[in-house]
Structures are given as C-alpha cells and as structure tokens.
C-alpha cells in the first residue's frame, strides 16, 4: 500500500436520515437492481465475446450440416411444397434458444462457487427474481441476435421469409421458451451442489430434448413411443407454430398449428401452453430462491 488513506478528507458519516439517497418503490428498486445485473452480464460479454461468436456459428453450422444431411431426401418427404431448409429453420431457432437458456444457470453457479452470489444475497434486493430477470433479459437479447442470424441464413438457404407479423409471433414464442428454460436453469443453479452436476444435467437434457422434439423430423417419422414424448416436449410446442408461420402468411390465433396423438392445437392454445409452462417453472423455483432465507 503506497498511498496513505486519507479518510478525514471524505465524509464517512452514516447519515441517520439518509432515505433521500435511496430510490424507493418496488418497481424502481426492481428495475434498478435488474438493470445493474443485466449490465454486468453485457459488460462480461463485451469483454469476452467468444460466447456470442460461438453462439452464432453453432446454429449456422446446424443449418448447413443438417441441410446437407437431408439434401437428397425425396421431394415432398417433409410435406408438400416444403423444403428441408424451411422445415429445419424453426427447429434450429428453438433449439438454439433452448440451449442458450439451459446454460443460463452456469454463470450463476460460478457466482455461487466464487462467493459473488453472496454479494447479491446480502443486498436488500426487492426480490430475488431480479436475478432471474437479469439472466432472462441477457439470454433473450443473445437469442434474438441468434434468431435473426438463423432467419437470415435460412432465407439464403431457401427457407424464404415469414411475414412481419410472423416475425413478431416468432419473437413471442422464443421469449416464452427462453423465460421458462432460463428460470429452470437458474433453479437448478440454486439447487444443485456444484457446476459439475449442473453441466451433467445440461448435458443429459440438451441433445435428447432436441431429438425428442420435432426440430429435425416431423412426428410421423417417429416411432410411436417417441411421438408421445415429442408431443409432450415443450420444444415441440414452440417449434410447430413457428413452422406454421414459415409456411402460412395468412395465420390467425385460431389456426391449427400442430397435431398430436391427442388432438389438434391452435396457435392460441400453443401460446397458452408455453405461458403455463413458464409460469409453472417460475413458481416451482420460488422456494429455491428463498431457500437462503429471503
């Protein structure tokens, strides 16, 4: 320590009537703490952009590789007038969003392991959901960038463009799935003992959920048992409506966007299911956030 600390030059007084210095109101507090934590994630990204770069290259490679894999598939195999690029784009969009969100818990887990999380937990946060909110905003932003890249790349690979309203609807679906899965991953980050376990869970969930959805192949390609699983898989409920949006410019909330062994689902149904899925997870993780005595 070379310089001398000169405390007499500063006002170190704790002011008993200091409330003037603080924001008040739950919304003001929530947005302040959430923005601050979000900003931290973006600063990290800016100084360590490799995650973003990898996150853009990876879906691009999926598109190219899977596209090439089925390049010579018989015409009409994936449905009339449907080429594989069109079929694939929605699957890759959702899978990318899902993977990104599933990994959201990792930074939080590392914060826990390095003790940084304690800094957040001893602070008078208005709610610990702001930790979830910050991660969600961050992942959403990343996912939207990735989604844009996928949509553009797919257009070049022959998938065409969804309508403008369709793009908005895609954004909404992506948002819901990211919200749900980010919350799930953060819940795990609070619940599991360490990052090894979290990585293990991510590892065994990620690809199996991809293959047990309609991301790469339609339901009617699958074995009966897998059809059932895929029809239960929330990813399918996100992929199918986007696929519909890619093919139909004249869609509405009542359009039937998917068929499962237990019936047809309209666009509105699917949105409700995704919403319910997100709400269910947010409620489930509440005790985990509170666990350390909120």
């Amino acid at each position: 320590m070379t310089q001398i600390i000169a405390p007499e030059k500063v006002n170190l007084t704790f002011a008993p009537n200091q409330s003037d210095n603080f924001k008040s109101g739950v919304m003001a507090e929530f947005s302040q703490e959430t923005l601050a934590m979000t900003k931290r994630l973006f600063i990290q990204l800016q100084r360590r952009p490799s995650t973003l770069i990898a996150g853009i290259i990876q879906p691009f490679m999926w598109l190219v590789l899977f596209g090439a894999l089925f390049y010579n598939a018989p015409k009409g195999l994936f449905g009339n007038e449907l080429n594989y690029a069109q079929f694939l784009a929605p699957g890759i969009i959702i899978f990318t969003a899902f993977s990104g969100a599933l990994n959201a818990g990792l930074p939080v887990m590392f914060d826990r392991e390095f003790g940084f999380l304690n800094r957040l937990l001893v602070a008078p946060l208005s709610t610990r959901y702001s930790i979830v909110a910050a991660s969600t905003i961050y992942i959403i932003a990343l996912t939207f960038i990735q989604t844009a890249v996928i949509v553009i790349a797919s257009a070049f690979l022959g998938a065409g463009w969804p309508s403008l309203a369709g793009l908005g609807a895609i954004a909404l679906i992506v948002f819901l799935i990211v919200l749900a899965v980010t919350a799930l991953s953060l819940g795990l980050a609070f619940a599991l003992p360490g990052h090894i376990e979290l990585i293990a869970v991510i590892f065994v969930t990620n690809l199996p959920l991809l293959f047990a959805s309609t991301a790469l192949a339609p339901l009617n390609f699958m074995a009966g048992w897998l059809q059932i699983i895929a029809s239960l898989n929330p990813l399918t409920y996100a992929i199918e409506p986007i696929r519909y949006l890619y093919l139909h410019s004249d869609w509405s909330i009542n359009s039937v966007v998917m068929e499962t062994p237990w019936g047809e689902f309209s666009f509105g149904n699917v949105l409700l299911i995704l919403l319910a899925f997100a709400a269910l997870i947010l409620l489930t993780i509440q005790p985990l956030l509170k666990k350390r005595f909120a």
């Binding site: 600390i5 200091q18 003001a28 302040q32 600063i43 392991e113 003790g115 940084f116 602070a123 208005s126």
Partner: protein
Amino acid sequence: MTVAVSIKNLQKRYGNTEAVKNVSFSVNSGEIFGLLGPNGAGKTTTIRCLTTLAKPDAGEIMISGISAIANPRLARQKIGYVAQEVALDKMLTGREMLQLQADLYHLKPKFAQPRIEQLINALGLQEYADNKTGTYSGGIRKRLDLAAGLLHQPEVLVLDEPSVGLDIESRFIFWDFLRELKKAGTTVLITSHYLEEIDALADRLAIIDQGIIISEGSPNELKDKIGGDRITLRIREFTSENEANNAKNLLVSLPFVTEVIINKAQGNSLNLVVTQGNNLSKIETSLTSLNLPIFSMSQSRPSLDDVYLAATGRTLIDAELAAAGSRDLKAEKKQQMK
C-alpha cells in the same frame, strides 16, 4: 446508549458440526466491537447468520431494533458486509463493481456518483479504479471490497477477518480508517484471530471458542477480571531445567506470586502470575539469595491471550494449531453454498 446489534442464544449446525453452540453478545451504537476467536471458533458462521446468508437453527438477531430473521430485507439495508473472502467480478473494473453495488442497494445516481468517487479517493484506489479487478493484488481487492461495503452508508459495518493477508503497513492504515469511521458514527463489528488487532481497535469484545462466547467486555474489563499482572523472567538466555526449577520453587513461595509456569519453548523462561504492584525488586532480591542472575525481566498487565488462556486452558496460538489439522475446507465450502 443504544444497542446496534444484539445476538441472543444463537445456534447453528452444519450436519454434525455445531459451528455455533451458544452465542450471545451485543454491540453498542458507535463502538468498534471485536469478535475474537481461533480458527474454527464459529466467527464466520455467526457473521453469516447476522448478514442473513445463513438461517440460524435457534436464537435471536436484532439489528437496531429489526429482527434479521423475521425481517431480513430491512436488516440487509442496515449492514455493510466485508466478507472473509473477497469475491469480485474479475471482468469488471473497480468503478463498475462499485456502480453495481450502488444499484443493488438502490442508491440514487446523484448520490451514488459522488459517493463512489469519495470512497475511491478515501481508500486510495484512484490508480486502480478503472482496471479490471482481475488484475488487483490482495490488498487492493480488500480495499475495494471495503469501499463497496461502505457505499450505502450502513449503520453497522461488519468485517470478517479483514486483515488476513494484509501486510503490516496496510493493516495499520486499515485500522486508522476504521477508527475514523467510528468517529464519524458508524458501528463496526470486526472478527479476528489476532489479539493485537482486537486489543488495539476494539472498544469492547467477545471471545468465542468452539461455538460459545466465553467472555464479553472491554479489553480492560476482561484483563481486570482475570486479575493480577504477568511477569516474564529469564534467568539466562537459555536457562537449564534445573535452574529454572530451583527458581520456580523459590518464587512460588513468595506471598505475591500466585502461579509460576516454566515455558520450555522459550528457553525455560518463567511466566509468573503476580498481584498488581511493584514486584520486580523483590523477585530480584530473592533470586540473588540463590545466586541466580537475571537475563531479562518484565512485568505487564495480562493480555487478551491471558484472558483466553484463563477461560479455555490453552493459548490462542495452541488453539489455532489444533484447529488447523481438523478442518475439511472443501466440505465446508460445499456446505456453505447451500
């Protein structure tokens, strides 16, 4: 006098370890209070309960009238916490860390900005504030962490072993800083296993050992309570056991001597517990009668170590050494994350 922190019958166990068995003490507003104890005594566990990071199994924790257990969010507002292990985001600069902290405590920007600059200056961080914290040395990290803890002008500043890893000079500067803080009205609760630190800083202290508070009071009160003075006597630089024993037998028979211990580790020097008063000349006279020389002799008030020794039957250093062998740090870290 108002009470800033009051802890009553606190208990906390981790699995089979009773980290805190029964801890009670209270910290008055505006004082520096020391929690002194050897490694593994339960200091950090107590602090984790106080800062709402751990939920006590039993007991009561009040922070200026607010229960940290019933009302953790309000309690958090009143505390500034400098943890034993500094956790910074190594990708952020010091200034960005402070900004983040300011937002976590909901400071208004117009207050936060000057406050951040103030603390950067006060803690001599100007040169480092815009470097990533990943490049900081241990001392700089500690100082930034202290700045972060002070940002919201907490009523109570809680420091868990702040001077571990600081060089002597930094430590003194740190102490001065805490004294200034106290002058300005902040209550400071500091844990330490350095006697000198608590002796030099604390207005009052509690000694904790194996999860139990064994005494509480001002340094002087505690020293007075165990009574007497201490005399350290060296007959020669290295005294033979025989001579030391002879001297001991002679000295215990003196009326003002209550106890004599031969310290083998210190070249068979003699440690005497005596009643207060000028005893040195009398000792000198009796030693001369046995034809024993005096290499060095000094009388002093009991130290906090003597207080600890009197209460536990071992010195703080011995307790540290015993604790060092018996902890599973990895398992603790795991537990702590829960």
